[in-house]
């Protein structure tokens, strides 16, 4: 676009979202120009709408002008590159829409705008005796809605019944400019009228025979903008204890995990490698190395909770049954690992990551590789990753491994963290080479890249042509002019 054209579009956008809503502050724009391995984005300017009407008008304007819109709800820093535009784009920064519009203790839900962060939601929820369901240590600026839309796994698999959880109903603005509401929020009636009738937008399915929230989830902003959503909250426990199970062998922890999750015995439930655990505990590189060296290769953390009625008895039952399962698997739980008591760790994982963001603490930067698999296959993927890491000269003991069971343990998010020093060109390029090679090797070995960012999109979609065909038709229906985050996923060229 020429400077004149950009100026013209800028004026139109400001006319739509109001004076002061548009900025081309170069530092702020640089946050969108690159992230992780993605670079080369050309954010033209940033517009910050304050309500759904403005969002809708912006989408309509983009349809007229053909400009690419990249929606973003979280604050910086960014790591995955989904908000780095392919070429020129206007960044629609939704972070100013940051109200918690409703918290309903009885029905355990909140209605929130896209800019609401986990700390904000946690504070409001706790006042009502509730707690949000969080991914592992989200960064401070992470939007709750963005996290749930990205299907980031939550740390409590027993509350993860289906992939959409904890997201419930949504208000959407499709790329056509049409507004739509999903789940029981779809109506009839306004939200206010629905509340008056006792509804709380808790049923995520529908309306009728569609489930557009599922289409928008995982779509990296290519199908619709979300202007609000209802989310599940859970009761804030009256007793909450965390335990660790350190183990030399992952297989022991897997053996323990299957029956524990089948019986929905624990709340928080995840496994991390020594190095990943150390990044959660310590705040500087030396300390991380020292603490990691003292950990068992893998540590499982699980939480037990008591609620309103006989909380002690509930906790005792869970502790005892989990203890028996541990014994059967040949492992033992403790309340301490080197560098952290269980109490400290519980506090840590009940909040967003303290600054600096925990994955940057070891070496300044990191690359994540994550995908879905089942727990029984985790070890073979780890072997593949370790092979590739050592081939690339990466110290395998410094690999982060994070295994998060989801859907009651039916599958798991398996994540590898490659830590590197961004100031060191050699270290950076080694990390990048490892990332590329390992991503391909893991895909070959059967990794399911369900959230295909960057390089993974081409790799993952090459494997499922029938899915791609259907997705392209849906994209054409919901975003016929291809104005929503152009060039992402399998939508390189639509039609």
């Amino acid at each position: 676009m020429t400077v004149g054209e950009i100026q013209d579009v800028r004026e139109k956008f400001e006319g739509t979202a109001g004076p002061g809503s548009v900025s081309d502050d170069s530092e702020a724009l640089s946050w969108y120009a690159s992230a992780g391995l993605a670079e080369g984005g050309k954010p033209l300017f940033r517009v910050a709408p304050t309500d759904a009407t403005q969002v809708r008008e912006l989408v309509k304007l983009a349809r007229k002008t053909g400009i690419n819109l990249v929606f973003s709800s979280s604050g910086p820093p960014r790591f995955r590159g989904d908000t780095v535009p392919s070429g020129e784009a206007v960044i629609v920064d939704m972070s100013a829409m940051n109200k918690v519009l409703r918290v309903d203790r009885r029905n355990k839900m909140a209605l929130i705008e896209p800019g609401v962060t986990f700390s904000q939601l946690k504070a409001v929820a706790e006042k009502a005796g509730l707690r949000p369901l969080m991914p592992l240590l989200p960064r401070l600026t992470k939007s709750v809605i963005a996290s749930y839309l990205e299907r980031e796994p939550i740390t409590v698999p027993k509350y993860h019944w289906d992939m959409t959880d904890p997201l419930l109903c949504t208000e959407l603005i499709f790329g056509t400019g049409d507004l739509f509401r999903t789940g029981s929020a779809a109506g009839p009636g306004s939200l206010k009228e629905q509340w008056e009738k006792g509804l709380a937008q808790k049923n995520p399915m529908g309306p009728a025979q569609t489930d557009f929230a599922r289409i928008v989830q995982g779509s990296q902003g290519t199908m619709a903008a979300v202007t609000w959503a209802t989310v599940k909250l859970e009761i804030k426990p009256t007793i909450h204890r965390l335990y660790f199970i350190p183990a030399e062998k992952l297989s022991k922890l897997v053996e323990f995990s299957y029956p524990a999750m089948r019986r929905k015995l624990a709340d928080e439930f995840f496994i991390v490698s020594a190095f990943a655990l150390a990044t959660m505990i310590a705040s500087n590189p030396d300390e991380i190395k020292a603490i990691a060296a003292k950990q068992a290769p893998y540590t499982l953390a699980y939480g037990v909770t008591g609620g309103e009625y006989v909380p002690e008895q509930r906790v005792e039952w869970q502790e005892k049954d989990l203890g028996e399962l541990a014994q059967a698997a040949g492992v033992k739980s403790t309340r301490e690992v080197p560098g952290s008591s269980a109490r400290q760790m519980l506090e840590t994982i009940s909040n967003p990551s303290a600054e600096p963001y925990f994955k940057t603490r070891a070496k300044g930067s990191f690359l994540d590789i994550f995908f879905l698999t089942t727990l029984d296959k985790a070890q073979s993927f780890i072997d593949t990753m370790r092979d590739v890491a050592s081939r690339n000269g990466y110290p395998v003991e410094e690999l982060g491994v994070y295994i998060q069971p989801i859907q009651h343990g039916r599958s798991c998010h398996l994540e590898f963290n490659i830590y590197f020093n961004p100031q060191d060109a050699e270290d950076s390029s080694r990390a990048k080479a490892l990332f590329d090679e390992a991503s391909k090797a893991l895909l070959e070995a059967g990794a399911f890249f369900s959230r295909p960012y960057g390089l993974w999109a081409d790799l993952a979609y090459a494997r499922c042509p029938d899915t791609v065909k259907a997705l392209k038709k849906i994209k054409e229906m919901l975003d016929p002019e291809d104005i929503l985050n152009r060039g992402k996923l399998c939508f390189k060229e639509v039609g």
Binding site: R314, T373, F448
Partner: protein
């Protein structure tokens, strides 16, 4: 009618022995016990029936139909008129030859199965490895695949085993053009364990709260979730239906709870669910249970005013729950909490362990929905009024409304007297949301009953809309046309999906996205006025929903 040429192609697709256009055979598909409002007028007869035995045969069949301008309607276990054709150019695709449980992944708690596997069969196999399957309230002879991919999905066990649509993982799907689409991990050759992605989840077009009812293709295999079962590998049972006698496993408790009034009941139900106690949780009316178990007795009881007022008054607020446990400690905790809640809200718990014959008779009805066919005993037919499932409180409001509407029609002689209070209520996922449908019984040989069906359907639909809820009838082509503009014009989106998935219009879309004019002039004037008011009030404008 089907042309000889088209018929020959069907024979080629699935083998001559698996196709029929014999009127007597076709009529076996054209009578349905549910939602059939006129015994003279059976549901629409298919022009032929074909029974494919594999995915490839389903593909060949669908392609042949496309070539001849015919439509398909899938039939897995065919319980109810939802599997019936809605126009006279439809071939019934009866999937009964596809009847295998392909896999039970014990560790990762899912199964892969074909359309004609029924709930009872799957449950029997799953229990052998300490697992269980969600079985819909329609009964154990229904197809778990049909409910997960294409129909509804409520059942007694939703508190622990969710809703069929939420339990779908990978799936194999023959599209209306005959091509195969493999959902989720399956599409990427990564197994069956996930139905979503990469990226956007195509489960979003497969279904919503209701499935496409065969309007978007035919599912030939699906993976669905299984759940923990701490009981024995086999629940020893003798006899059928109400004569059944089951051995009650040691770690199973079956309780009925009664509460002094609605307020206390609702508070208690919220607390019970928050405490995550239940394997089965439901609320039904006591009158309903009697009408099902002992319809002749019911006829006498309805005239006995003291008993009636006891059943619809003092014993009105009750719920039934089954608790299971993997350990004594777990059961002790659950029992203790239940007692505490009962104490707090003035409830009475009846542990049915003390009433052995009853618990032995009802156990499998709850665990396996076995007794469902007896709902037809009272009058020969039943139907139901379903609202949008959301908070438990709204479902109780729906139940109360149902009593009022039904009593009016009972008094008019439009439906049978089951004491009016006949809700089927369950809670989903520890009461993340709740369900209520109001069941009513009728005798299809009684002209007054038949005449009451349409007005009841309209009135219940209106009641739902007035309560800001999507009615069950959103799958009815006439009401869809009225309701869709109040809910973001969802039909238009479904039509677009149908348009790009089914260029040749080979699927029977009568229950999915077709719209038919509804002549409101024939509706009772009061009801019509109310309907016109909500249409005006709730219809979306260009700007979106009315705020």
């Amino acid at each position: 009618m089907i042309s000889d040429e088209a018929y020959r192609e069907l024979e080629e697709a699935v083998g001559p022995e698996n196709v029929s256009r014999e009127p007597a055979v076709l009529d076996t598909y054209a009578w349905q016990p549910f939602a059939n409002d006129n015994p003279e007028r059976w549901v629409i007869r298919p022009v032929a029936v074909a029974m494919p035995g594999s995915t490839e045969e389903v593909q060949a069949l669908v392609k042949a139909l496309g070539r001849h301008g015919l439509k398909f309607k899938a039939f897995s276990t065919g319980w109810g008129a939802y599997s019936s054709p809605t126009s006279d150019d439809v071939v019934q695709v009866d999937l009964r030859r596809m009847d295998r449980i392909i896999d039970i992944d014990e560790k990762n708690m899912y199964t892969v199965l074909e359309p004609y596997v029924c709930g009872a069969q799957l449950q029997a196999e799953a229990m052998k490895v300490g697992l269980n399957t969600h079985i819909i309230g329609a009964g154990p002879s229904c197809s778990p695949l049909a409910s997960a991919t294409s129909a509804f999905g409520v059942g007694w066990d939703c508190v622990y085993m969710s809703y069929s649509g939420r339990n779908l993982l990978g799936a194999e799907w023959v599209l209306p053009d005959g091509e195969v689409l493999r959902l989720g991990t399956l599409g990427s050759d990564c197994g069956w364990f996930c139905g979503d992605g990469p990226g956007p989840s195509l489960r979003g077009i497969v279904r919503g709260s209701t499935g496409a009812l065969s309007g978007l293709g035919i599912f030939t295999k699906a993976a669905i979730k299984l759940f923990n079962w701490p009981g024995p590998p086999r629940v020893e049972t003798d006899g059928l239906l109400l004569d059944a006698q089951s051995e009650v496993p040691e770690n199973v408790r079956f309780c009925m709870c009664f509460w002094p009034d609605r307020k206390n009941q609702d508070e208690a139900i919220y607390k019970i669910n928050e405490s995550e106690l239940c394997y089965i949780f439901s609320r039904t009316g006591l009158g309903a249970t009697i009408s099902i178990a002992a319809p002749h007795l019911m006829k006498h009881l309805t005239g006995a005013s003291t008993l009636r007022s006891m059943i619809t008054g003092d014993l009105k607020y009750g719920c039934t729950l089954i608790m299971v446990a993997d350990s004594d400690n777990e059961m002790a905790y659950k029992e203790r909490v239940l007692k505490e809640i009962a104490k707090q809200y003035g409830g009475v718990i009846i542990d049915l362990a003390a009433a052995k014959p009853i618990i032995r008779m009802f156990l499998m009805n709850f665990l396996r929905s076995t007794a469902v066919p007896v709902v037809f005993r009272m009058g020969g037919q039943m139907f139901t009024a379903l609202d949008r499932n959301d908070t438990w409180d709204t479902q109780m409001d729906w139940a109360d409304m149902g009593v009022e509407v039904k009593q009016k029609w009972i008094d008019r002689g439009g439906i049978l007297d089951d004491m009016a209070d006949n809700p089927y209520m369950v809670s989903y996922e520890d009461n993340t949301w709740g369900h209520c449908e109001e069941i009513f019984q009728y005798d299809p040989r009684n002209p007054d009953h038949l005449a009451a069906l349409e007005p009841l359907f309209v009135e219940f639909s209106l009641e739902a809309v007035e309560r800001c809820m999507e009615p069950l009838s959103s799958t009815d082509a006439r009401l869809r046309k009225i309701i869709s503009p109040m809910m973001g014009h969802y039909t238009q989106w479904q039509q677009k999906i149908s348009g790009f998935m089914d260029g040749k219009r080979t699927a029977d879309t009568g229950m999915y996205c077709d719209e038919v004019d509804f002549d409101l002039q024939k509706v009772d004037p009061d009801i019509r006025t109310r309907f016109e008011k909500v249409i005006e009030k709730f219809s979306w404008t260009e700007d979106g929903p009315p705020e």
